[in-house]
């Protein structure tokens, strides 16, 4: 296995994650969003597994496995069920239209490359490429969070952001496993808490539309 082949595959996998991020951004049907997210998680797990291979660090396989099982299968399935139960598997409304969102996304990708590429010789090319993709995925995830109104899609945006984090973390050579655990741990907690909140929010508001929450801002009634 040559260095360049390893590089190419890593590049391909990371690139596909980025592309999927774009698709997420573009996709406006909630079920499709969940499916695309599952796809991205799979791409992530492949990427992590590949990193485990070329870095000779088998513990990364655990991370890949977690990514595949939790993010690729469990969470999307769970979210599908929630969505169906809430009866919101209809179209989701964008806050800003797709065109500007896409353009912003492109700009963010350019920014990521601009930021990471000029980094000096101390960091290897592979790591740099990885980092650029990861940064772009993170920024796109954030962008998705702010362009969507629906709590479920926001969660997806956030998890896509986490995917970027994992990509970056695995790209960093020899980062101690403790971090992996913490990532998994935090995602787990994140999910549980999310679940609790979504549950509670449903219980109280019969909707997970976050904008409906906002009317309960403490001082709203007394404005002016």
């Amino acid at each position: 296995m040559t260095q360049s082949f390893g590089f190419d595959v890593a590049h391909l996998l990371a690139g596909s994650m980025l592309v999927l991020s774009f698709v997420l951004l573009y996709q406006d049907r909630i079920t499709a969003v969940l499916n695309v997210f599952a796809l991205q998680a799979i791409a992530l797990s492949l990427s992590v597994a590949w990193q485990a291979l070329i870095q000779d660090s088998p513990h990364l396989l655990v991370t890949a496995g977690i990514a595949l099982v939790v993010k690729g299968i469990v969470i999307p399935t769970a979210l599908h069920r929630i969505v169906r139960r809430l009866g919101i598997h209809r179209e989701i409304e964008d806050v800003i239209s797709a065109g500007p969102t896409m353009l912003t996304g492109l700009g963010l990708v350019a920014l990521s490359i601009l930021l990471v590429m000029p980094v000096g010789e101390t960091v290897s090319v592979l790591v740099r490429e990885d980092l650029a993709f990861a940064l772009a995925v993170i920024l796109l995830g954030l962008l998705m969070m702010i362009t969507r109104r629906n709590a479920v899609t926001q969660i997806v945006g956030f998890m896509s952001l986490e995917n970027g984090l994992v990509l970056a973390a695995t790209g960093a050579k020899g980062m101690p496993l403790v971090v992996e655990f913490s990532v998994a741990f935090s995602i787990l907690i994140a999910f549980i808490v999310f679940g609790v909140f979504v549950f509670r929010i449903r219980e109280r508001f019969d909707t997970v539309d976050v904008s409906a929450l906002d009317q309960f801002r403490g001082e709203r009634g007394e404005r002016g």
Partner: protein
């Protein structure tokens, strides 16, 4: 023999489990106090044992006083909480089940903050901050009113994004460090990084700091990342507000400063001081103006916390021995004063049965002692002598005016605007005809006046070791 360092981590950990299992809320409250007290004693014991470092944990000049401060405020807050929370049960805002939950989470938060403080591993530092954040999220939502849920939700979403960004920054720092220090744990050890920092890639390090700044800055409550803070303070139980303002913000800032030290040791990095100065000033001025339109007493002081975090960030952004010293002192003073204020506010909210400023009048007539406590707290936090906040503001304003007059003018402007708002509200609360019920204060005054006494003491005299630590850290901060 367990060393104090382990004790401050273990006691809360054990307490979490025990408190989660014990049903009675009275015992829970007492155990909570006991655990906090023991942790505090362990924290004080750090003074007498030799300094310690490993790749995972460290005790140095910077965190030793913060550990003591944190455990101290956690202890006093637990005392306050023990007498406070009973009333909440009476009014039916909480149920015993939730109190169990509450006490366990309280210890979890203290433990997590201690972890963050004593961590030498930047990953562990991150974990500590995150766990502390998540446990407070739960506590903020504990009343389960729509407003509380909404506050917790907002806190959670913004906090999670902060978590993620800070984590990315941490990865970047590791990436930079592993090229010099080699892979593995040592590449995440903070003290080794500081030593090796001049060899680090300055560009990536700067990029990392931006992410850390936004990530931890969200926890610090710097504008414009502050949005969670006012609601979280006003909707949660008051002891949590006290701990949030008094401790969690400090811990997040502490995390940021650890990275600032790494950057300060590498002269080729971006001048992050300027960014911090700008963010600090934005927070200060913004929060100062926000103070004027507040109707909720706890939200008022939450904004004041943003304001003070702005001042502290400004101080560290300015850098130099005096400004850094001032920043460290201000962190300490703010944490003591603000928690004292929240104690007072908690009492007020309980006796008056409301948090609405418009319904709280003439406190000096109905509850003179409480009024004095609140007045002293607000006067201290507004930066008036002879309290410790004035000492730090004195050093900060005077030294920065000699160096960067325009920045200092903005700083002074913000201070005056904030001062005007705080005094305006204070007078409204204290004076005039008393409104609302005039019942006795049931909770204890001890924590309130203990904190105020310490702040007063610091305004007149600082103990020698504290000065030494501050100086050492100030030198490191560059």
């Amino acid at each position: 023999m367990i060393s104090p360092l382990h004790a401050i981590l273990l006691i809360p950990a054990i307490a979490v489990v025990v408190l989660a299992l014990i049903p009675g809320y009275r015992i829970g409250a007492i155990l909570n106090m006991l655990a906090s007290g023991l942790t505090f004693m362990a924290g004080v014991a750090l003074l007498v044992v030799p300094r310690y470092r490993s790749d995972v944990l460290i005790i140095d000049d910077f965190n030793i006083y913060l550990v003591i401060l944190t455990t101290f405020v956690a202890f006093t807050t637990s005392i306050f909480s023990a007498s406070y929370i009973g009333h909440e049960l009476e009014t039916g805002r909480l149920t015993p089940t939730f109190l169990r939950f509450y006490h366990a989470l309280y210890q979890a938060m203290i433990g997590a903050m201690n972890v963050a403080l004593v961590a030498n591993n930047i990953g562990l530092l991150w974990v500590g901050v995150e766990v502390a954040t998540l446990s407070t999220v739960m506590m903020v939502g504990i009343y389960r009113t729509p407003a509380a849920v909404e506050a917790a939700w907002k806190y959670f979403i913004l906090g999670s994004v902060g978590i993620a960004l800070a984590f990315f920054g941490t990865i970047l720092v590791y990436l930079v460090a592993q090229e010099v220090l080699g892979e593995g744990l040592q590449a995440m050890a903070w003290d080794l990084m500081v030593q090796a920092s001049p060899k680090f890639d300055p560009k990536l390090l700067s990029l990392a700091f931006v992410f850390l700044l936004v990530g931890y800055g969200t926890k610090v409550g710097l504008a414009p990342f502050h949005a969670w803070l006012p609601d979280a303070h006003s909707e949660g139980p008051t002891p949590i507000s006290a701990v949030l303002s008094g401790l969690l913000l400090n811990v997040a800032l502490y995390a940021l400063l650890r990275f600032k030290i790494i950057l300060a040791a590498n002269p080729a990095t971006l001048n992050v001081g300027l960014i911090m100065v700008v963010l600090g000033l934005i927070s200060l001025v913004f929060a100062a103006f926000m103070l004027y339109r507040r109707r909720d007493i706890k939200r008022l002081f939450a904004y004041s916390s943003i304001e003070h975090m702005g001042i502290i960030t400004f101080a560290f952004g300015m850098g130099g021995p005096l400004a850094n010293f001032a920043g460290l002192l201000h962190m300490t003073m703010h944490s003591l004063t603000k928690s004292a204020i929240f104690f007072a506010v908690g009492h007020i909210a309980q006796v008056k049965g409301t948090q609405r400023l418009a319904d709280i009048k003439g406190l000096s007539t109905s509850h003179p002692v409480l009024a004095v406590g609140l007045a002293l707290g607000v006067i201290a936090i507004a930066g008036l002598p002879p309290f410790g906040v004035f000492t730090s503001e004195f050093m900060l304003v005077s030294s920065s005016f000699a160096r960067q007059p325009w920045l200092a003018v903005v700083l002074v402007f913000g201070l005056i605007v904030a001062f005007g708002a705080l005094i305006l509200r204070l007078q409204d609360v204290l004076f005039g005809e008393a409104s609302g019920p005039a019942g006795e204060v049931k909770a204890t005054y001890v924590p309130l006046f203990l904190h105020l006494a310490l702040v007063l003491m610091a305004g007149l005299w600082l103990p020698e070791p504290v000065v030494r630590w501050f100086r050492a850290v100030a030198a490191q901060l560059g």
